[in-house]
């Protein structure tokens, strides 16, 4: 059986679950979640079957006419299938966990309906075979995140956070849309004459675009890819559109886990990976991706240092880790298509450990009833499973490992293996081969690694060690919640070490296979890179021996361990007093705690003062006083003349109606009778 024919079911099943849950959920009550769980489990199963069928060299391609010049289709290649597996699997675990977590919420029917749709939308993004369909699913992801962040809509802060998330990502979406519009223009002008009429070729299909990329002028490609990246910046929380993500925790914690691990923020990284050939053919674009990514990695981790809300610390860590992924893609300017492998590998590992971290945080919040780290402490004894799984995933987030390989296996947590690859094989080789701003990008990577380690262990020590700062009756969560934690924690520990080498090699075939060889036998990505003004070394980076500089090789490890020691000293052993530097009198602390005054800049200045206060209210004034004023002036003259008309208004409606009917009849009669 060809499992590829079932591919359409992967997003369709959760959509059906959405409809069924909405329709029958209230009757099923506490069992409402099972519909979504079964649907997503089946989607996962189909994804596994397709993976087994196409590994290592196959693809699934289906396309049908939609309307006008557009098509709908499915495209599964190595890049898409690893995303499919991760999203369905992680989403499944989060759904199972939510059975317990949401069991007391009166809105759980709506919850499971919306999370199923959320998953479906993300699967739609992954499966899209053309950029417009990608965008459509991408927007539906935005809709679901809006609904779920605002799930507890009676809370004003939740409603505000939902709106903020939608509008901020919308800024990116408009840029993305503009990119698609300009891409269509270029395909229409430069490619359509080459490939012939409509109906057979769909201009927005990825394969059509990749095949004819060389026909599009490079300056246009730069504009298009930067606009695409603008969309990714919004969705994946990169600077400066990251502001929505820390507030997005207003929804249930399981929603945060979905957003941060599986169904939303990775979409931006996936977009850049999906359109990587366009990026590498465009001068400057990838360098900007690397710079923004690296900067975001460091910038977000500085704020993670001072947050007291357990979920907010994790939110900043997500922004920071997404920055690493973008940086990993950006350094593809020098290292080529391997960059996609590195970034995607970190994306997958991050999904495991971040889902685990959020679910652990949920378990803690469930148990102690607060988000505030300062009110926690000493929970280790009461919640051994949560504490242990959280420790494992924290080790992964902080990137703790040993820089030794046994054969193809790197020793270390998942986060170590993939982050190490981005910093060393990625950023360091980029620096080594003379990539623009190479040392700055490398610095971003190492500095962020140190800060990440500090805030990660700060969180863990504050929550689980020391004396309880408040008396609470904390207890371990039920099995439906702890089993997903254990699975994710094990993956966070060992997935990276076990799969690094085959993963990278499999991902390489995304852009190196027969289809691309036919377009350019000398190496498709190499050829495009030269158009973009980049130079990729002949030898694959993973085969290079960069170990001649041991200190540099050790930097990520040192950063990770140093962060652990600093946190241990401050937050566990209390060798220094936090209060002496961590107070509002310290300007550095204040600016971090205030999150660089982003709220003041984005919400109060740009949205309220400028857009509403200046643009909208001035417009209203002009409209009422000037545009309408002129009209009223003219019409008062006419109305004055119509006083006669007014006097015959008797106020009896029957008179009007009779007059109307008679009038119309009379006009018609007079006209026809008078002339015929």
């Amino acid at each position: 059986m060809d499992f590829g024919t079932l591919a359409f079911l992967i997003p369709t099943l959760p959509v059906i679950a959405f409809v069924l849950t909405l329709a029958f959920g209230n009757k099923l009550q506490s069992r409402a979640g099972y519909i979504s769980i079964v649907a997503i489990a089946l989607s996962f199963l189909i994804s596994v079957l397709i993976f087994l069928q196409i590994y290592p060299h196959g693809t699934v391609e289906q396309s049908a006419h939609w309307f006008s010049v557009l098509n709908v289709g499915i495209f599964i290649d190595p890049l898409a299938i690893v995303m499919l597996l991760m999203v369905t699997f992680v989403s499944l675990l989060i759904h199972i966990y939510a059975l317990g977590y949401m069991s007391h919420d009166p809105g759980k029917t709506r919850y499971f309906a919306e999370t199923a749709l959320f998953t479906a939308a993300m699967l739609g993004v992954i499966l899209a075979d053309n950029i417009l369909q990608f965008f459509i699913a991408w927007e539906l992801v935005g809709l679901c995140s809006y609904l779920l962040i605002g799930f507890w809509f009676r809370k004003p802060s939740a409603a505000a956070a939902a709106k903020k998330a939608f509008l901020t990502t919308r800024v990116g979406d408009v840029l993305f849309l503009a990119g698609i519009v300009i891409l269509y223009f270029n395909m229409y002008t430069h490619v359509l004459p080459e490939v012939g009429g409509h109906g057979t070729v769909y201009l927005l299909q990825f394969k059509t675009i990749f095949e004819h990329l060389t026909l599009i002028p490079t300056d246009q490609l730069t504009i298009i890819t930067l606009l695409f990246f603008g969309g990714a910046v919004g969705k994946s929380g990169q600077f400066p559109l990251h502001v929505w993500l820390p507030d997005a925790m207003e929804g249930p914690t399981t929603v945060s886990a979905l957003i941060h691990a599986a169904t939303m923020v990775t979409a931006g990284v996936y977009l850049v990976a999906r359109t990587f050939p366009m990026f590498i053919a465009a001068p400057e674009s990838l360098i900007i991706v690397a710079l923004i990514g690296g900067f975001t990695a460091l910038f977000a981790s500085t704020m993670g240092l001072v947050m007291n809300d357990i979920k907010r610390v994790l939110a900043f860590s997500t922004i920071s880790q997404l920055g690493y992924m973008m940086m990993g893609l950006g350094v593809g300017a020098i290292i080529g298509a391997e960059a996609v492998g590195f970034a995607m590998f970190h994306l997958i590992n991050h999904a495991f450990f971040k889902a685990c971290l959020f679910l652990c945080a949920g378990s803690v919040i469930h148990a102690v009833g607060t988000n505030d780290l300062r009110e926690m402490g000493g929970l280790f004894g009461k919640m051994k499973i949560t504490a242990t799984t959280m420790l494992f995933s924290s080790l992964a987030l902080a990137g703790i490992g040993i820089p030794v390989s046994i054969g193809a296996i790197k020793l270390g947590t998942s986060g170590f293996v993939s982050k190490d690859a981005i910093i060393l094989e990625g950023a360091y080789s980029y620096l080594h081969f003379g990539g623009a701003y190479g040392s700055l990008i490398f610095f971003f990577g190492v500095a962020a690694a140190l800060l990440t380690s500090i805030y990660t262990f700060r969180l863990w020590f504050m929550a689980f060690t020391g004396k309880p700062r408040q008396e609470r009756h904390a207890h371990e969560s039920p099995l439906s919640m702890t089993v997903p934690l254990m699975i994710l924690a094990v993956l966070a520990l060992v997935f990276g070490a076990l799969t690094f080498s085959p993963f990278i090699h499999y991902l390489e075939t995304t852009y190196e296979n027969e289809f691309f060889e036919e377009i350019d036998p000398n190496g498709y990505i190499h050829g495009l890179a030269e158009r973009g003004g980049y130079h990729i070394p002949e030898e694959p980076i993973v085969h290079l021996d960069l170990a001649h500089d041991t200190l540099i090789m050790m930097l990520p490890v040192i950063a990770g361990l140093l962060g652990f020691i600093i946190s241990w000293a401050i937050y566990h052993k209390r060798l220094f007093s936090v209060a002496s530097i961590g107070n509002m009198r310290n300007p550095l602390f204040r600016i971090l705690a205030k999150r660089y005054y982003q709220h003041e800049i984005f919400i109060e200045l740009i949205s309220l003062k400028f857009t509403y206060g200046v643009l909208a209210l001035t417009g209203e004034f002009i409209d009422r006083k000037i545009v309408d004023g002129i009209i009223d002036g003219i019409s008062s003259f006419i109305i004055g003349g119509a006083e006669v008309l007014k006097k015959i208004q008797t106020g009896v409606v029957q008179n009007y109606a009779t007059a109307t009917v008679l009038g119309v009849a009379l006009i018609a009669l007079v006209l026809s009778w008078g002339v015929i």
Partner: protein
């Protein structure tokens, strides 16, 4: 059936006459429902038989009788790809409005009769192929809406009704001048629209051609409406009863856009040296409408006025697509008309329900309504999402085609229009947040959620919006063929 268009046209009129003479509310609304729904059956019938491949200015289901023969005036009806989906829109929207107004208590016989007259007038505009007939129907639509506002309207209804009537009537007179100028300067001695359009390019003086074009254009501009001729619309909406607003925004405004496609676009190639100036004028008006109305919507305190301004902005896309003058943008603009008719109806119905159950529409006085009115919140959210251009709903299809198509010929204007997208999402979500979410404002009393007769039309509309957003083919194909045949379209 040879006279199916006349049936569609006259059944509502007969229904109106019967409704007027009913004694009880129950019989009035039942006759009104039948009178407005039977045309839908006939419309679907001709839609199914409609050959979309010969779509523009090749008319089907034609009926033609000489009426005032020495002036060349005929009773001449027919449909092509430009008008067919709009007739469908009118046929769908009117019965749904009647159902929505099921609870109307104040003089229900007259109320429903006026709705049916309105429906007939709009049918007439979309079917008439004779300019004189076209004008009669065009004016006929003013009368029922005038009465709907001035009798069933809000506190400031007299001002709004007079303003609506006179403003649009003056514009119609300018249009009438244009029609006469066209009639006399071509000298073809007929008011048949296809003949006049063909003869237009033959007028020797290019200035005369431009003058005729602008006179007709003005009539359509005010009806759409386009900034700066839009101020009658918010006032009319604020005072009009919900059913009136639904039909005003849902189908009456579409007459202006229809005029663009039916009459003006085929004339573009005949403008000679002034062609590019006129295109630029249209594009400027379009972009100004989109951006200006969007920011004004953001400033509104009254929910209904906000929706009214959003209509102005959305109709700006119709103008932009027409101005860009390629098949993608034009078909997108036509689809925007169809789609906006469905979407705006949901919005006005939502606002009407709020007004009805808590007796205010001032956004800051509302709050947390979703808590007490979950069904309304669900359907209203769907409508708002459609209105802000969410994909998988019909508005996105239209706006995507307009923007993509416009970028091919008017790139700067297309990019400018996109500047409004974030603010559009902004005012929709901000209004939702303040009116529907947060904690419930106890001062509003105990509102009841949607009545069954309110929920049914809204749910049907939302389903149609999603259906045409996911599968726009049935309507889109008709528009696409139609717009490819317009002379000069690339």
């Amino acid at each position: 059936m040879d006279s199916v268009l006349s049936l569609i046209l006259f059944i509502p009129l007969i229904g109106a006459a019967l409704t007027l003479f009913t004694k009880t509310r129950e019989s009035a609304r039942m006759i009104a429902l039948i009178g407005s729904a039977v045309p839908l059956i006939f419309t679907v019938m001709i839609y199914l038989q409609f050959d979309s491949t010969k779509a523009f200015l090749v008319f089907q289901s034609v009926e033609k009788f000489s009426w005032i023969s020495n002036l060349g005036i005929n009773y001449y009806l027919g449909v092509d790809g430009v008008s067919m989906p709009l007739i469908l829109l009118n046929a769908i929207l009117c019965p749904l409005t009647v159902i929505y107004a099921w609870g109307e208590n104040k003089q229900p016989n007259q109320f429903f009769a006026l709705l049916l007259v309105l429906q007939a007038g709009v049918f007439g505009v979309f079917m008439a192929l004779d300019f004189f007939l076209f004008y009669i129907f065009w004016e006929l639509t003013l009368i029922p809406l005038y009465f709907l506002i001035s009798i069933w309207g809000g506190p400031n209804k007299d001002y709004a009704a007079i303003k609506f009537f006179i403003y649009t009537h003056v514009a119609s007179l300018v249009m009438l001048l244009g029609i006469f100028a066209l009639y006399f300067s071509t000298g073809v001695n007929t008011f048949e629209i296809p003949v006049l359009l063909e003869a237009f390019a033959g007028i020797t003086s290019p200035e005369m051609r431009v003058a005729i074009f602008l006179a007709l254009f003005f009539g359509f501009l005010v009806k759409m409406p386009t900034v700066p001729f839009h101020t009658w619309l918010p006032d009319a909406h604020v005072e009009a009863p919900t059913a009136g607003s639904v039909l005003l925004a849902g189908v009456l405004l579409k007459m202006g856009g229809y005029g663009l496609f039916r009459v003006l676009l085929p004339m573009i190639e005949g403008l000679g040296p002034y062609r590019s100036d006129i295109i630029t004028l249209m594009a400027v008006l379009a972009v100004v409408s989109i951006l200006y109305a969007t920011f004004l919507a953001l400033a509104q305190k009254d929910l209904k006025k906000m929706v009214a301004y959003s209509s102005v902005a959305h109709m700006g896309y119709v103008m932009l697509g027409a101005a860009a003058f390629n098949f993608m943008s034009v078909s997108g603009a036509m689809f925007q008309q169809f789609s906006h008719g469905l979407i705006t109806a949901v919005l006005f119905m939502s606002v009407g329900v709020i007004q009805h159950s808590v007796h205010t529409r001032i956004i800051s006085d509302l709050g947390g309504l979703a808590d007490r009115m979950p069904k309304l919140a669900f359907l209203m959210m769907a409508g708002f999402m459609a209105s802000l251009g969410l994909p998988a709903m019909s508005g996105f299809v239209a706006e995507f085609l307009v923007l993509t198509g416009s970028y091919l010929t008017l790139p700067v204007f297309a990019l400018l229009a996109m500047l409004g997208i974030v603010a559009t999402a902004g005012y929709h979500l901000w209004a939702m947040q303040r009116a529907m979410f947060g904690s419930y404002n106890e001062k509003l009393g105990e509102p009841h959620d949607l009545a069954f007769y309110e929920m049914i039309p809204m749910a049907i509309l939302v389903l149609l919006i999603i259906l045409f957003g996911v599968y726009p083919g049935p309507v889109m194909d008709v528009f696409e063929y139609a717009s490819k045949i317009i002379p000069g379209v690339m």
